[in-house]
């Protein structure tokens, strides 16, 4: 009951936020010098005044400002994100085509980093100051300090070029004609290197966070109570320390989850992964305004969705939330 109400109020706020972002985006793009008509005309080669004016009329760019804004907002509400003149495709179609590839990549990386990071953090905290701890902390620091693009290039060089174990780029083998399970396996093979590369950095962050949080919680009074009950150390660690230590990790994971759509530009570029990140990169270079606006909006929507999800997870873990005034 309380949770349903909380979700409802969050969704309402989310819709308002999203609208505000859309309007802000609109102003942002209009503040940039030049307009799409000029860009398009420029790309078409010789552009005369008449052609630019025609294009303006065609896209409604000759209309007063507020009319354009109203039309834009109206379009968004009906999920019409406009047409990419550059790619010759409606923007929504374009984004929906690219979204699965990005989500597969970033979600995989997200889970790898979260699960491995927490597991390593717990392991390090259990043997704090010993060799295992030093090894884990040191390795994590290395991952943390390595620039993503460099790690990506090295991974391609070693595992793909030298060893030939895994494909170095692309989403699937082009023209293989695979279907069903074979295709899934093929995508999985392509997925491993980019997902690992992308996940390493955040794995290091989660590991450090979990370790610090575990050590802090271990000092608290209720852990002493648990020991005084005669519980064995493994149970204490799992049931009493870990659950409490996860709270800050969840906060951080929620923040990272918001970046799932837009945060993989570099990785997608290095591994030629046909995702949203690359779409945005290409659109920026080509001044494909409609597409840029569309990607912005979808990323923003994702951030909001993951924020709501994080809040829900938080409620599940911590009974105190939702009870207090």
């Amino acid at each position: 009951m309380a949770i349903a109400g909380a979700i409802l109020s969050r969704l309402l706020k989310a819709a308002i936020t999203l609208l505000a972002i859309a309007i802000l985006n609109f102003f942002l793009v209009h503040a940039a010098p030049g307009d799409p008509a000029a860009v398009l005309a420029g790309e078409a080669g010789a552009a005369d005044e008449q052609m630019i004016a025609d294009l303006r009329a065609q896209f409604g760019l000759d209309q007063p400002f507020y009319v354009q804004l109203a039309r834009y907002v109206g379009n968004i509400v009906t999920l019409d994100l406009g047409y990419s003149f550059r790619q010759g495709q409606p923007v929504l179609e374009l984004i929906l085509e690219r979204l699965p590839a990005t989500l597969i990549l970033t979600l995989t990386a997200f889970w790898i980093s979260l699960v491995a990071g927490v597991a390593l953090g717990v392991a390090a905290s259990a043997r704090v100051g010993k060799f295992t701890d030093t090894l884990i902390t040191g390795t994590a620091l290395l991952f943390y300090a390595t620039p993503l693009y460099w790690a990506a290039l090295m991974a391609v060089l070693v595992f793909s070029v030298q060893l030939g174990w895994l494909p170095g780029f692309g989403y699937e083998t082009v023209g293989s004609g695979f279907g069903g399970l074979a295709r899934a396996l093929d995508i999985l093979k392509h997925l491993i290197l980019p997902a690992l590369t992308l996940g390493l950095f955040f794995m290091a962050v989660y590991m450090r966070m979990t370790r610090a949080s575990m050590l802090e919680v271990a000092q608290q009074d209720f852990v002493k109570t648990a020991r005084a009950k005669g519980l064995n150390p493994a149970t204490i660690r799992r049931r009493h320390i870990l659950r409490n230590a996860l709270l800050p990790v969840v906060t951080l994971a929620g923040l990272q989850a918001g970046q799932l759509v837009g945060g993989a530009v570099l990785t997608e570029t290095v591994f030629a992964w046909p995702g949203i990140g690359r779409l945005m990169f290409e659109s920026l270079a080509a001044r494909d305004y409609n597409t840029i606006l569309g990607v912005f909006l979808v990323s923003a929507a994702m951030v909001i969705v993951f924020n709501i999800l994080t809040d829900l997870v938080y409620r599940l873990i911590d009974p105190r939330i939702g009870h207090k005034a």
């Binding site: 009074d221 648990a226 020991r227 005084a228 009950k229 519980l231 064995n232 009493h240 207090k324 005034a325």
Partner: protein, 535 residues
């Protein structure tokens, strides 16, 4: 027949500690069904022995000599696994802070049932039944609800009952209670002490009761051990130690306890330093497990006056609204209606800018001397920031700071030190100097001595008494401890659930209380009977 026999126990502290041994060469026994009180101030090593018995010594601290015989074995020398098997089963422990001693994310019932799980007793369904029985035995209300409740839904006293339920789960032969009532209200404390006495009667367990409070000792102890710097300085039956203390230190501790002795009120000038008229403040709280969403009247139409040079004690249990009242006077809380007149200014009616200009009129001394000073600022800065913001020239403020440190007995040179270089009592002196630096019309001391050891408490009270005479201070002294209030205050105001139920000269309120609630509070003071008998 003794349950536990400690012989020649020494516990070594890590290198660099303030002394070599937390406990040195202590020997004592606890018999079945006996309550032994181990008394001492913080740092006396009284808790370390308990931790050693439980195998819960902190990192770096170790037993380096002596034995503790329990059930035919030296439990200080058994393996970790054997120790674990003893913990929670044959020896159980309850702790000081009920607010933090329970896992905030686990239901009370699960935390109790966990004790059975740890020792492999009963099937899961039976464990729940057993937990329910225990919850009933420690007299928690509405057991079916409590078992599913989370700690944050329980009050401090209820949490301590839940802790006791856990400790009792496997009917231990020895219960170690480490200051279990220190963090509780006086009436709650009385209930918990009674519960422990009842349970001792029923289960015949031995109790090692660690406390710093001789009032509690008088209430509960069969035998007493007094510890100082890790050594036993006095031992005997409760009557012997309380009525005929042999060691100087014991005598000092006993003297430091405010007893039923009531000072005569000082005649004070009529000019009011504080006038509160019909003050109201209501909080709207969300629903909890045991309450619907409701409005709590923290201050319910309170009117009172403090004359210039008068000390008014404001007493009540937690939740009575006494702290909210103090905060409303400083305008840390904005009241809903009513007026707070300080030196002709209505603090309740000022806007933000006016308030900043008037803030210096009322100064506060807080409860926690450790948390109320910025650890990265030298004392000089703590004492001069306020006056300089008020417009006092820098040089003058600095001179005044030195003078004040002299006044509170710390010496002018101490201004260049950082807060961590001082003890708790010294920090509270700095807190007082900080308040004085603003030349306030009124000082509000919110539980200002509650966190201090009893002998330090006495010193700080002496200081306040002295300052009040020298500077004609007006003080609103908020406390839950009636014995402390009696020592310092001219008049006492008693609050219950936001209402002022009784106010009058200290002797009147103590010797001839008019309101039922005041009588309840007075009856609940531990060792009350003994205090009067000693007069």
């Amino acid at each position: 027949m003794s349950v536990l026999k400690i012989s020649d126990l020494s516990i070594a502290l890590p290198k660099g500690a303030d002394r070599d041994h937390a406990v040195s060469q202590c020997s004592y026994e606890i018999g079945a069904g006996e309550i032994l009180c181990v008394v001492g101030e913080s740092g006396s090593g009284k808790s370390m022995t308990a931790n050693a018995l439980m195998g819960l010594l902190p990192e770096g601290v170790r037993v380096d000599h002596g034995t503790a015989e329990f059930g035919g074995k030296d439990i200080l020398r058994v393996s970790e696994a054997e120790q674990r098997a003893l913990r929670g089963d044959r020896i159980a422990m309850i702790f000081q802070e009920p607010m933090t001693a329970l896992n905030p994310l686990m239901r009370i019932g699960d935390q109790i049932a966990e004790v059975y799980e740890a020792h492999g007793r009963h099937r899961p369904a039976e464990r729940r039944e057993k937990a329910l029985e225990l919850i009933r035995e420690v007299q928690l209300p509405d057991p079916e609800k409590i078992i599913r409740a989370y700690p944050f839904q329980l009050s401090g006293g209820q949490r301590q009952r839940a802790m006791i339920a856990m400790a009792l789960a496997l009917e231990p032969e020895l219960l170690i209670a480490d200051e279990p009532t220190t963090a509780l209200d006086v009436t709650t404390q009385a209930q918990i002490l009674k519960l422990i006495l009842d349970l001792r009667e029923k289960h015949g367990m031995a109790v090692m009761f660690i406390t710093h409070d001789f009032g509690v000792v008088a209430e509960i102890a069969d035998r007493v051990i007094v510890m100082r710097y890790g050594e036993i300085v006095e031992r005997g039956t409760a009557t012997e130690v309380l009525e005929n203390p042999q060691h100087d230190y014991t005598r000092r501790l006993l003297d430091a306890i405010p007893t039923g002795m009531v000072p005569q009120s000082v005649e004070v000038a009529k000019a009011p330093a504080l006038e509160i008229r019909h003050l109201k403040k209501t909080y709207n709280t969300g629903g909890g497990l045991f309450r619907e969403a409701r409005a709590v009247r923290a201050i319910d139409d309170v009117s009172l006056t403090i004359s210039r040079g008068e000390v008014l004690g404001l007493v009540g249990e937690s939740g009575s609204g006494k702290s909210t009242l103090g905060r409303a006077v400083v305008r840390l809380v904005t009241p809903d209606s009513g007026s707070v007149m300080v030196g002709g200014t209505d603090m309740a009616a000022l806007n933000d800018r006016e308030l900043r200009a008037a803030r210096h009129k009322v100064q506060m001394v807080f409860q926690d001397p450790y948390a109320s000073l910025n650890p990265r600022h030298r004392v000089m800065r703590a004492l001069t920031d306020g006056p300089i913001a008020k417009g006092v020239p820098k040089a003058q403020a600095r001179d005044r700071a030195r003078e004040l440190m002299e006044t509170v007995g710390l010496g002018a040179d101490a201004v260049d030190r950082f807060p961590h270089e001082f003890s708790g009592g010294q920090r509270q002196r700095i807190g007082i100097a900080r308040a004085l630096a603003m030349d306030p019309e009124l000082i509000i001391a919110d539980e200002a001595v509650s966190a201090l050891d009893v002998s330090i408490q006495a010193q700080v009270l002496d200081l306040l008494r002295d300052l009040r005479q020298r500077f004609d201070l007006s003080i609103l002294f908020i406390t839950h401890d009636l014995r402390v209030a009696a020592q310092l205050c001219d008049r006492i105001a008693v609050m219950q659930r936001g209402k002022l139920v009784e106010i009058g000269p200290v002797s009147e309120v103590f010797l001839n209380p008019q309101h039922d609630y005041t009588r309840t509070l007075l009856d609940a003071v531990p060792g009350g009977g003994w205090g009067q008998a000693a007069e």
